[in-house]
Subunit: 287 residues, 2 copies
């Protein structure tokens, strides 16, 4: 969302001034012109930041599967979970026994990516910005280690938590943690560039990692992706995630900010580290 | 070689003070303890910077194939050519019609990589530092376009020479040209990190590209490699290169600096842009 409100070319056009802010949402059908979406059905799609949405075929409306908590349709089983799933499995290609480092690990995507790596039999290390988040990662989500980057210098902490080096780095943050991860790659390592939130608010682009030569020396790969690249496999991945969630193999955590007026404040919480797990805004008076 | 004389961990141990400088060489067997390498045979291997080398099994001695110019055993058909071959084909994965950008294109590796891309049916653009080099790339090697980065600002020149964007960037240089290439990637592009000569002499590491987010937005990949990763396919690649050279499908250019004493000067020519094609030092009194 932060990228969509910058006026520059990206993978989709920027949101224009005066337009409804683009966003995925979940809601109840209150009026319908088609039997496919009867009144009362719970659906998810590109509803935008608004109390009521008039939704056509372009907004990719999907029914929320029966039994799935509606918030999970936006988090572990929504585009967030799919992003973690494809980034980890298709780009990171983890193998059992691999050491997987996740930055922004207490965020919506990072927390799912880390849990999926654990289910694959990897050793999972996460970075986060508070002691509570680190405790949640280790005690509730089964991470093997968690680093509070605001308390420990990252170079020492990463080297200590990943003594044999990093096979897969799942990066949501960029900046310093990316540079430190590059200094700790194993031969043949994969860096998954999922996001770079540390730089999204920069007015001038900050300098990049000074140590890309590690990619050469370690025959390592760094690859970015937009989740829609894997559209053809969304259904398969959605079933995997919903089953893992229902079985308790992965856990989902959401934090809800109440009221459309607080949506800008909520967006900003992602930059101050104010949220854990998936951050949602409840915009409808009925919610 | 420049990397090998820095005292830090890399893919092979650094050369120690007082040791013979590590280098591939070509020479004639003048004394032998095995029938496998009879006196008079032309061989190539890890001979080092020295007039006479005592060579054992560790130095990976190979006969120069009959008919192959001895200098080609160190350039287009040596580790240089293999580096271009595996970097382009295994990492870059070019397809016919792709736009391939090569930095340091008039160097030993870049000139072979560009020619192999042309043979694959790609549109090939190279960067180099003199008008003569650019002319050689276009007139003799069949590059579609060549950019003199000392005369034209790279952002404009690359955008103009690659109007639809870059599918494969084969990078020998790093620094500015890497940043510019990242700004011109097509969706699904591959960046082959082969080297980063612009940074090898830096005492402090220079800042890296500020625009890695392009890898995310364009679902693009950046991957480094050390050629020995593909050891199992060396024979197959060597045959391909020797045949392409014999057929005139690719051209080989070498520049020979005469005398062991001038070896340090020769190494420095790689950083000042003083050479075109493969730079060799003739160290033996017999040469």
């Amino acid at each position: 969302m932060r990228g969509w409100i910058v006026d520059q070319e990206s993978y989709i056009p920027p949101v224009q001034l005066g337009d409804v802010m683009r966003a995925l949402g979940v809601g109840e059908v209150v009026e319908s012109m088609t039997d496919e979406y009867p009144v009362g059905m719970l659906v998810t799609g590109m509803t935008g930041w608004q109390e009521y949405a008039v939704v056509g075929p372009d907004e990719m409306l999907q029914p929320v599967p029966p039994g799935l908590p509606e918030t999970s349709a936006l988090s572990a089983c929504g585009l967030t979970g799919l992003t973690a799933y494809f980034g980890l499995f298709e780009v990171g290609k983890p193998k059992p026994g691999d050491t997987v480092l996740v930055s922004g690990a207490a965020g919506a995507t990072g927390s799912v990516a880390g849990q999926l790596a654990r289910l694959t039999g990897c050793r999972v290390v996460g970075t986060a910005g508070t002691t509570d988040k680190c405790r949640w990662l280790m005690d509730d989500l089964g991470f093997d280690s968690a680093i509070n980057y605001k308390e420990e210098p990252l170079p020492r902490a990463v080297a200590k938590a990943c003594p044999g080096g990093v096979d897969v780095f799942f990066d949501n943050v960029g900046g310093e943690v990316l540079e430190v991860a590059l200094d700790n790659l194993k031969v043949g390592a994969r860096v998954v560039l999922c996001g770079g939130i540390s730089g999204y608010n920069d007015v001038e682009q900050a300098p990049g990692p000074r140590n890309l030569i590690n990619l050469v020396v370690k025959s390592a790969r760094m690859e970015g992706f937009i989740v829609t690249k894997y559209l053809a496999k969304f259904a398969e991945a959605g079933i995997y995630l919903a089953k893992a969630l229902a079985d308790g193999a992965i856990k989902d955590r959401v934090q809800i900010v109440d009221g459309l007026k607080r949506a800008p404040e909520a967006l900003n919480m992602l930059f101050t580290g104010g949220n854990t797990g998936k951050l949602l805004v409840s915009v409808s008076p009925a919610a």
